[in-house]
Amino acid sequence: MNELANFLSTAIRLATPTLLAGLGIVFSERAGIVNIGTEGLMLIGALSGVMGSLLTGNVWLGALIAIIVTVAFAAVFAFFTVIIKADQTVIGTGMNLLASGLTITVNRAVFGANTSPPKIDTFRTTPIPLLSKIPYLGEIFFRHPVPIYLAFLLVPIAQFMMFRSNTGLKVRSVGENPKACDTVGINVTRTRFLAILYSGVMAGFAGAFVSMGQLSFFTEGMIAGGGFIALAAVVFGNYTPLGVMIASLVFGASNALMFRLQALSTGIPSQFPLMIPYIITIFSLCLVSRKSNKPAGSAIPYIKE
């Protein structure tokens, strides 16, 4: 039972970056934007978070800096895809390459190539009074760093925003039929641009959580597909915040399973457990692709006549 609680707690912890990024992507996806570049945005968030924390000595200020820097890069993506109307996949791929090159360049310029990482302020476990004392449940749900609570609290808020708010309706509509939105006076460009910026906020925070919540330093290429998995979580979660949460937990559990298998001496070569999240992602895509809420105008730039 303790083992299980431990496992579930780990699953939740590992699900969080996916959930944070996914809660952003779900809005930009609904607005008709496929942002393959989320991976790169998270990488940028991870590095700028560490730098920010080092600079200010405060993890939250570090996260804020991570968000600001990441949003700036999300704006670059938005500029190319929404204003210039370039192909979203290609720009996303370019952003990933850019993020990879830039983070390496900056990381080496700032921290040097082979020095040990400096000590920074990180997100520490903050048990919730009383609740964390509940047997099992306390360990599973209430002994985590604050960003994890935030991520899960955001789920119902995002769900409400998506389906009950004016903004949510606009976002869902520009992804389905931008032309129709134009005829009722909605600014499609602005709506899509803002949706991308918002997903940048979340990707930046998610990246900062990876480098400062799960670890306490930056390594080159540390996101290792986390951004793509967040994209997959949105597809698997059928484009709703609630679905994203469930998908994230599935991916988180598969990650936790991977660590478990690695820790146990099962004789299975370590690479195979490491493949689990990627394989689960592929399976999940095959499972849901045929019957999904994918917006009709997904990945199609809106060109006003």
């Binding site: 009950r164 708010s165 004016n166 903004t167 309706l169 606009k170 869902r172 509509s173 389905e176 039929n177 032309k179 129709a180 939105c181 134009d182 005829t183 009722v184 006076g185 909605i186 600014n187 809420n293 917006p295 009709a296 006549e305």
Partner: protein
Amino acid sequence: MASILEMKHITKRFGPVVANKDVSFSVEEGEVHALLGENGAGKSTLMNILFGLYEQTSGDIYYRGEPLNVRSPRDAIDRGIGMVHQHFMLIPAHSAIENVVLGYGGNKEVLDLKAAAKRFSEMADRYHMNIDPWEKVGKMSVGQQQRLEILKALYRDVDTLILDEPTAVLTPQEVEGLFDVIRQLIAEGKTVIFISHKLPEIMAICDRCTVLRQGEVAAAGLEVKSIKNLNELAHLMVGREVELVTAKTPSEPGEVILDVEDLNYINEKGIHVLKDVSFQVRAGEIVGVCGVDGNGQSELVKCLTGLLAPASGRVELLGKDVTHESAKNILDAGVGHIPEDRHKMGMVGAMNLRENIAMVDNYKEPYSTKGFMHWRWIDKHSRELVQKFSVKTPSIMEKAINLSGGNQQKMVVGRELSRETHLLIAVHPSRGLDIGATKYIQSQIVEARDRGAAVLMVSTELDEILEIPDRVLVIYGGRILACLEQAACSRNRLGLLMAGITEDDEEQPA
């Protein structure tokens, strides 16, 4: 009465093409003003300028005496102008009420859809429209969608409503319903601009009319009551004698080429789209399929050409069962297909003419041998085809997208007719074309018949149906309701049948 709207000297260019040339248009408050013109005469362009979707190249607009500077539809709506577009601007994935409140200026951030639905339903009741605010738009009929579009505009308290070709997708009965709504709007003091190219409708509902021809005003503000002669109006619209009947001799049907028996098709949503469809097409005759869009025509053609798999029934081509053959094999067996949507299906815009011409028969001699293309022969063939079917293009290396719609269609028709075809399936062959191109393409279809091909022609245009086919099938709700000889067809009779009313129904008192 005072003018509510004045559009003065509007010119709109798209690149080298002038869509509106020095157009002045004036509407009085409380009238139904028709904007009449052929396809492509510039009616929609003018109204899209008024509604803020396009920006005029030059000219001024005044609304209620004040200059109207619309930069987006939001501005137009705020000033009280609403528009129902020819292609509905609805989101099928959303509910009716979500579509209505979308972009509405009075929305709070937290949406109160229940209150909105209440107001919406009261409004719908007032106009005798029955629409469930919570139903998904994707599940509504075309007529319901149009009513929803009208209510969507009225929800915004507009006092001028632009209706762009509102009857194109309606049955005659639904048209009557629409007219009732228009009359009620006028009684409430609203103004309606009615865009159409159908003369009888204009006579029925409009007070005045402005005629556009090739982007210019041919007649402005004619009193409809004073129009005695429909031909005169038609002449204004077309700019030449309208009696341009395609020359045609009586048909001499030969052997059965296409034999369809009890064809049924069920789509992926489980809807029974085609119900026991049976008919024959013989060599040397044209069989027309007429009906309002969305009654199964599209699916019927796709079943015949191997693009959809029928649930049951049998399709025989030249005595051979082809029910479950692939599209390729059916084309191979001698079927020419002028598809319903030339942009989406009939051509590849980014490819040049010769590639488009090679598109269907590319794997055959002399287009290719053993998998290698013979571009030299294709070039020669393409030049001949371009000349024979008078496709206007700088060269065969021009990309198809750069041609005008009429020339694109001529290329598609030319390609299909220059193949060895026993059966020609032509779907909306003249949709969106000017009258010259329409007549040309119709005459080519008749010529194909005279050469001995069997022709199946699908059309929604009654004029075309009354003129070209030798026999007419009326399709309604996926069923063939009637099969009439051409002589037995009349506008009235076809109109009733298209609305699903057979003679038995007429005899029984309702």
